[in-house]
Subunit: 210 residues, 3 copies
């Protein structure tokens, strides 16, 4: 087993950047899928392929952590970042699968809005991670984090509106349909929240190394 | 970036005590809200305000952790304690919001009983945290922990009773109403369980430093 | 408080082996229960008894961690392993309770298939843990891990099939019954996933010490 005593900082940043790039790809295809929802869209397979690549990237990061004594940022932080980025993709993929299983027929405008928020949050995450490496860019990192926090609040308001409509007394929708939609909204909210968790970890790293 | 080499133990204990005091406040207002349930009660806003203050306290604790080399108790334990205390408040707040969204009409006596258990558990937690600092008070800390474990068991029995009634064959309630109540009970049980997690962390700290 | 400076490696391995043995016991009784489902089966009490013993084993492991400076494998890994093994038993027990509360009447063949997968995964886990100690047996450990990954995929396919049938348009089942079954399937899938988490932790340990 070989250990690197002098780690190339670039390696971890490069892998994390690859991971966040995959989150953007998954969120983009998911938003496109939701925009033009079809049960048998080939975009479902594309999301599965990205999820598998994401797993490989995460495995590469964990392997590298296990073989490196000194890391540019705390091991635990690298671990949490890669794990949370992978979780976002997993959540997108499992929600896509579930929407197929539930034979969701139409997706309303507000639900698309949640997918748009998720895509925007993933883009801001990716920018933050690509700027973490260079201390000169800390201001830009903090702007991305603020944007993600802002998007998370927008997501909160949107889901509140969606659920209030869904559970309104005059909604005559069948109970099973109500719970399919409720679960879909909550899953998208959870994916957006996970992006905020990543932003929070990045903020912690920047503060510690600031 | 300034580091404190000689931490004042009091600072962390003071912040944790502030955090647990906020848990008591949130649990107390929630119990009062449930006792006299009104969809548009001003107590909902009070819970939101406490939740925001709780976030600030948690941020203060994390900041202090990032700027202190030596901590009176393990960093990880302080981190987990502050995170779990914050989670209890978040759970109370998000349940309050959801009860509004669901337009819950009446709250039965057993559900109020869960809110009372949660309030009692939060008071025992607060006492435990306020007594952790002084080794002379360990016996009192352990009594609080035993009380929280006892309350958690009482919560288990209560929710079992509530769910058994809810899913009884002769219950003619509409499916959507059944699931709104089921989710409410489970959310309160989860908040009580989280109090037990905090008690468990406190017990671990006391054993390590005993 | 006494510390062991020279830990007997065997102690931790022995306790972890005891823990995984209890997972096998719980999964076996659960599979038998599901195979011949009866609301008032004495097997429910047997699962409760195993769950309590599992809690004791976990407490022994945490106590030993708190009193030992040097551990044969990383403290954090031992902690996560014992915690995840305990979680599998907790999940089996709480699902059993919930199936009673829901007054589940019949269990279909595919649901039994999930219980069989869970039992097989627990047996593979137990084998992996019993072979971890001796470097000569690493190949055998890796075979067990591969088997668990394979079982998890089989679980995924099974639950996908079960949910697709449950949410098929021609299913005239009552909404409450649909959600009872959905929750049962998801809980079994979560228990199988937790076994895979344990396998993943074991793999990480073997790689680090390989």
């Amino acid at each position: 087993m070989g250990f690197n005593f002098l780690p190339k900082d670039n390696d971890f940043y490069h892998l994390l950047s690859k991971a966040s790039d995959h989150v953007v790809k998954a969120a983009k295809i998911f938003r496109e899928l939701v925009e033009n929802w079809q049960l048998d869209s080939e975009k479902v397979d594309q999301i599965h392929a990205i999820e598998e690549e994401g797993d490989d990237i995460r495995r590469d990061i964990v392997d590298k952590l296990n073989h490196t004594f000194i890391t540019p940022i705390d091991r635990e932080d690298i671990y949490v970042l890669s794990s949370d980025l992978d979780d976002v993709i997993d959540m997108i993929q499992s929600r896509t699968d579930r929407m197929q299983i539930y034979r969701i027929k139409t997706i309303d405008k507000n639900c698309l809005h949640l997918a748009v928020i998720l895509e925007k949050a993933s883009i801001a995450l990716d920018k933050a991670i690509n700027n973490m490496k260079d201390k000169k860019n800390i201001k830009h990192v903090m702007e991305c984090i603020a944007e993600i926090n802002h998007l998370e609040h927008e997501g909160d308001r949107t889901i509140r509106k969606l659920l209030t409509e869904l559970f309104a007394e005059n909604n005559k929708m069948d109970a099973i349909e109500v719970f399919k939609l409720k679960e879909t909204y909550e899953a998208l909210e959870a994916a957006i929240d996970k992006c905020e968790d990543v932003a929070c970890t990045i903020e912690g790293i920047v503060v510690k190394h600031g």
